[in-house]
Symmetry: C2
Subunit: 284 residues, 2 copies
């Protein structure tokens, strides 16, 4: 692994929306390592094969990715940055292919379903399910199909040398995915985050309480009584453990500020379990 160009692992094919998040967080020349499963990307960072990982954590239409919260808790890789990617779907074809030639559009069914208005207006184009958004661009260009397009990100069009026939064909533009950049604890220690004085910080944590009625209210008092701003709160029932809940909570502030240290000590008194997932500059 070259020290100059650290590899960043993500889930999906080259050209996935995660790669766009990697560029936003690590620069346009970031070198990436595509993986099959979410678990694999955590494993790659833990084993040192990759220097960091990009994970999607929530989507404005589809909600929080609980699986990645579980991996954050189990692998103990700190969050060091966040970013948000607008999910823009483009109709992409091999170079030289015109819109009038397109009879089929390949993509992941979730992406196809997010473009139903486009398909209603263009009934000559058949929705064709494929394994992956970016993978469908790879396939149509490798096979040199002349009657087919793919639906994917603009990064995928660029990577596979295809061209965009129609931009932003998704029905709902309020479709954003929030991504975290993770590093090893060791890397995070050696490269403490620095940011301009006016930067706002966020801290993400997971905690559990045994019983909800008063418990959550009291847990939140640790923040409310210190005027700490909550950005996100979400409960998740623990299957097979009735009345036990995990809570995901983000607050505005650095975890090492005096007021946050006091709030977290207060929360530790009240919670059965508490894990700080990371402290990072608030994304744009």
């Amino acid at each position: 692994m070259s020290a100059r160009r650290p590899l960043i692992a993500f889930q999906g094919e080259l050209g996935a929306f995660s790669q766009q998040a990697a560029r936003q967080l690590c620069g346009p020349d970031v070198e990436v390592l595509p993986c099959t499963r979410f678990e694999d990307i955590f494993g790659c960072v833990k084993s040192g094969r990759a220097a960091g990982a990009i994970v999607p954590i929530e989507n404005t239409l589809a909600g929080s990715v609980h699986e990645n919260y579980d991996h954050l808790v189990n692998f103990e890789l700190p969050i060091v940055a966040e970013t948000s990617v607008r999910i823009v779907h483009n109709l992409i074809a091999p170079k030289g292919v015109k819109f009038s030639q397109i009879k089929r559009a390949f993509s992941h069914p979730v992406a196809l379903n997010q473009c139903l208005d486009f398909f209603a207006k263009n009934p000559q184009i058949e929705k064709t399910p494929f394994y992956d958004t970016a993978g469908s661009v790879k396939m149509i260009t490798e096979e040199g199909l002349t009657d087919a397009a793919a639906i994917a990100s603009s990064v995928a069009a660029e990577i596979y040398g295809a061209h965009i026939l129609r931009r932003s064909i998704e029905s709902d533009r309020q479709n954003f995915t929030r991504f975290f950049l993770l590093r090893t604890s060791d890397h995070a220690r050696r490269h403490p985050l620095r940011a301009a004085a006016h930067t706002q910080w966020k801290t993400s944590l997971v905690f559990s309480t045994r019983n909800i009625p008063g418990a959550l209210f009291r847990a939140l008092s640790a923040f409310a009584l210190r005027d700490l701003n909550l950005i996100k709160i979400e409960s998740r029932p623990l299957r097979g453990k009735p009345w036990e809940y995990l809570f995901y909570l983000d607050f505005l502030g650095r975890a090492d500020s005096p007021v946050a240290v006091n709030a977290l000590n207060h929360l530790r008194e009240l919670a059965d379990f508490l894990r700080i997932l990371g402290c990072y500059p608030k994304g744009a």
Copy 2:
């Protein structure tokens, strides 16, 4: 529409997991109306084409379905029941086809990805993306494929006259989806819910506050100070409206009990917006 067999709308093909939820809530002989989009099922009930609808609202791995929360607010169809379905994936083939013949398995990519351990153990079977889990069973049986299987629910196998080669091939068994049964307000008024005296009730609501630090804490005081048990709380940032949040909240109790009426009046004082989505017997 026959008064005897009310139609229940759901999203997906016949044999989808939503149909299993419909059976759990309305009996094994429920007549169903498959729709393409979530929005369509709400429209079908609103227009009277269907007597009710089944909607998935959250999944233990994938989180809350924000889109359906939005439709619940916009269409004002009350929740009258809830149920939980364990997502069991089965390898299904046309009758007479044996496991040793299978070279490809069709299904929705999300389902294929939830069976990666099975594919790792059976490398001779190729994962093949298809539009829909139940739709892939329909396709392999209609085409009479002899080298292909589908991955879907047992209901799908039954509906399309196929047989199950391997049961429960999903990697993670902690995969449950929670579904709501919706009716028109008029239907809900004419058929008030009755249940045994020991039945526990749940009330679901959505509210918003402008500013989080003290506001959420104060909002929760409406419940905590009255010992009402919260079952779920989730914040959702409103895009384009910084510092405005929607909260989904479920509490244990009937919305028309004296203590809940007081709590809801208290919450109304504190919230910018409050909508009761329904009150229904707690699912098993």
